[in-house]
């Protein structure tokens, strides 16, 4: 065997080994569960601030318009964003106190900065009207019209004592698995 033949054989062997290794990897990948990342957006709305809620709904409606499937999960203070009124009957003292202190509905939400006891929020609403920016109420309605999935966190709803009848219509009730179920398939996930 000449030196040249020897090197050729060596490189063929190296190639065969490489092919075998790649075949094993392809097989392993084929057996692994598919990573189904879809055109979805999953969002946690934790904040009950007017400005953050606006950002959340602008992103949600924009994404829905762009063709993404959108899910919004309202938890803790974020429940205030989808709250339409107050109910006190049958609640314990703590729940009544929470119910009274937490904002109910768009008009009672505050800004996260420069709120000045609600004056900032009122000014913001005026500026938005003047600039022809949709109000939060309109955005919520629009989001529902566009088929955005909205889920109220059952656990925080219970903690804060917020009843179904205090929340806007069209909300689902769910927990962390509902969020992760959607988030794990989403290209975009946000926490606001």
């Amino acid at each position: 065997m000449t030196v040249q033949e020897q090197t050729t054989q060596q490189s063929v062997e190296a190639l065969l080994a490489r092919i075998a290794e790649l075949e094993a990897r392809v097989e392993a990948l084929e057996q692994a569960p598919a990573q189904d990342i879809e055109d979805r957006l999953a969002m946690v709305v934790f904040s009950g601030d007017l400005d953050k809620a606006l950002a959340a709904f602008i992103i949600a409606t924009g994404a829905a318009a762009m063709g993404l499937e959108v899910s919004m999960f309202f938890t803790f203070w974020g429940l205030s964003v989808v709250r339409k009124g107050r109910a006190f009957e049958g609640k314990n003292v703590i729940q009544k106190a929470f119910g009274a202190m937490l904002p109910a509905g768009e008009q009672s939400l505050h800004l996260s900065k420069m709120d000045f006891f609600g004056a900032g929020a009122a000014l913001m609403r005026k500026i938005m009207r003047d600039n022809n920016v949709s109000s939060l109420d309109e955005m919520v309605e629009l989001a529902q019209e566009l088929g955005v999935r909205m889920v109220a966190c059952e656990m925080s709803r219970d903690l804060l004592g917020i009843r179904d009848e205090e929340l806007i219509d069209g909300l689902e009730s769910g927990g962390v698995a509902t969020f992760i179920g959607d988030a794990s398939r989403s290209k975009v996930t946000l926490f606001i």
């Binding site: 055109d39 602008i58 409606t61 924009g62 829905a64 318009a65 762009m66 063709g67 993404l68 600039n131 022809n132 920016v133 949709s134 629009l142 566009l146």
Partner: protein, 85 residues
């Protein structure tokens, strides 16, 4: 302006801000026949990049043309969207 395509429908979103131009256009595109072209007239400067991003993301939309014109001291951003499927 040389138009090499027929505008099927026109949508006026002048004065509207993010995300309304997008939302209204989506609704209008959904109502278009396949192959139809929607002309969107907007005053929102952000809509230029927004429509480019939308066309890139969406599977059934093609941004055929974009142009800017001045009218009554106002800049108009005009987008032509084609529904491809």
């Amino acid at each position: 302006m040389s138009e090499t395509f027929d505008v099927t429908q026109e949508l006026d979103v002048r004065g509207l801000n993010c995300p309304m131009p997008l939302v209204k256009s989506r609704k209008a595109v959904n109502a278009l026949p396949v192959g139809g072209v929607l002309k969107v007239v907007a005053t929102d400067r952000g809509s230029v990049k927004d429509f480019q991003a939308w066309a890139k993301t969406a599977k059934n939309i093609e941004l055929v043309a974009q142009e800017e014109t001045e009218q009554d001291g106002q800049t108009l951003y005009i987008h032509y969207l084609k529904r491809t499927s």
